[in-house]
Symmetry: C2
Subunit: 343 residues, 2 copies
Amino acid sequence: MSQRPTIKDVAKRANVSLSTVSLVVNNKSYVSPKTRERVERVINELGYHPTSSARGLALRKSGNIGFILTNDHFTQSEPFYTKIFLGAEFEIQKHNYYILLATIPKQFNASNSIPRFLLEKNVDGVIVAGRVDYKMIEFIETMGIPLVLIDYKISNRQYSTIVMNNYKGAEQAVKHLISHGHKKIGFIGGELQHPSIKQRYIGYSEALAGAGIQPENNWIVKDLPDTRQMNGYDGARKLFSKKECRPTAIFVANDAMALGVMKYCKENNIKIPDDLAVIGFDNIEASYYVEPKLTTIDVNKEEMGIIGVQTLLNSIKEKTDIVRNIHTSVELVIRESCNSKGC
Amino acid sequence: MSQRPTIKDVAKRANVSLSTVSLVVNNKSYVSPKTRERVERVINELGYHPTSSARGLALRKSGNIGFILTNDHFTQSEPFYTKIFLGAEFEIQKHNYYILLATIPKQFNASNSIPRFLLEKNVDGVIVAGRVDYKMIEFIETMGIPLVLIDYKISNRQYSTIVMNNYKGAEQAVKHLISHGHKKIGFIGGELQHPSIKQRYIGYSEALAGAGIQPENNWIVKDLPDTRQMNGYDGARKLFSKKECRPTAIFVANDAMALGVMKYCKENNIKIPDDLAVIGFDNIEASYYVEPKLTTIDVNKEEMGIIGVQTLLNSIKEKTDIVRNIHTSVELVIRESCNSKGC
DNA sequence: AATTGTTATCGAAGCGCTTCGATAATTGTG
DNA sequence: CACAATTATCGAAGCGCTTCGATAACAATT
């Protein structure tokens, strides 16, 4: 079984020195077109690929980046983080890096939760996806490793961050409702201290303001304890308990709650979209299977991963600590839940 | 900013040679307890960790193993493969390896679907999870890299394989029904050419035989085109269209179809578990949320990952090509869908 | 006391690559 | 045409580790 070829084999066969081969491979410095071409041919003939550990040793770089998330985020059935990871994985290939994935427990514990690649300094940078214990972030910071956060915004601290454009998504949703003639557009949401939800609420408010609509207080439910489906149900009940001047459309802060709203409507004979238009946010899988299909805002998860990688790689290249905050794109997906004409 | 310590720093500080430090770290050969202790102390003081690329270069091993699955498997909402990966990741840490994950398209294409870690020989072994294009397998084989398949059995070929114990699971399911007094126990399943489903059917048959029960043909539907929910629904319809001698219990070959069966029953006023006991297989998330909660067979996904890693690491250590076929454990989870007394 | 075996430590070579500085070949300039 | 500047190639050192073979110290056996 022949060993895989090394740079030496290539050099010998192409009748050049090791250095020249290396220069060709990394296309650096001056190499004449003839020799470059010859070396490249030999590389193809032999199927030569540089060994990453040798290269890593010489360059004092690992060629890896770390990807950290909590294991409950990773295994949740909505493949949100999985898709972010997929985007990252896709992008990283182009840059000839590898991703080392580490899942950590929700409760961080310095003695056993630290990914080995950090201890061994086997990564040139780290992506953290989703909320993790802040001590984890601190640890990475003290190691001086470039860091990018995806879908996790830490206020008061300066980290490069990739988040979806919640504001714009909300705005689009509301504009869509307005374009259908709706004027009485309600909002249902909870956990307003959560930055994403807050941005969605702001987007809602400003879109209305932009259209010259002054929302009434009883169109709005924003004191729900969290963003689960049952709270959407409760929110709808609260909202419809007040008889006077009901909204004809509702922007719900996420799909899970929107499903709850729809459930309430079904049970109370409120027809969607005829009596009430409903629009959600997130484009979870269930939003497609519910009856009627939910119109919602899609988040480009893969893009979040891609941009995350690009941002991290930039931070690795430049040595300065530029902090970038990026809002990734968001898209209205029109289905069946708000086809009504507003009244 | 002080560089991270190397083996040299440790040696100097502990007043020994590089070799001795290396021997301590890998605890090989003879080192006197005193020096060992001293070296270890210095290692802790400095926070020394060997650099994996240097080690990899010297040992001509990467210290990585590759984990390959198709991207649709990875992103499906039931986190089956994700959990297998998680188990693998958990186990690999103990052995000081890293996992490099690569997702490949369903349609294999030799020019761009080959994970980079294979081309660069940057892995010491590979795990393939779930069905992938056979050309992928062949490619790995020709590279002479140790390989373990998880949840993917290829007949006629000899690969180490980790699959759940479908036979035993089916047997347990049927025995559970029998223990509730059921004698007329039906089977609904499709895609019998699929090895897992086939094993489940065999387990069903033999469990009945073992109890001295001769199943009647019209208790059994096994010609469904695939294993999706709607086929379970259809299967139930077929089964209940024949009036004579209905089963009092059904073992459905997977939860998805079981859900379909339950839907049919609900629509046709067949009460579960009173009129009909239903048991599924897989323990998907929805099986917990359905009404009544589905009794089913749980598959230990993490264990599959763990055993997969152990098996692969064994193959890497021994140079011989021992082929191991392992059936991982499976567990009855009793919920609400077969609490009836059989008639 | 001489011989053998065991235990402990070390020096040096080598793993496959990058890169600095030296040198050689080529081209451009006045 | 002489000289400088540019382009092309190479040798050697070094990245941080493992390991072979040598040597030394010590213990056990005749």
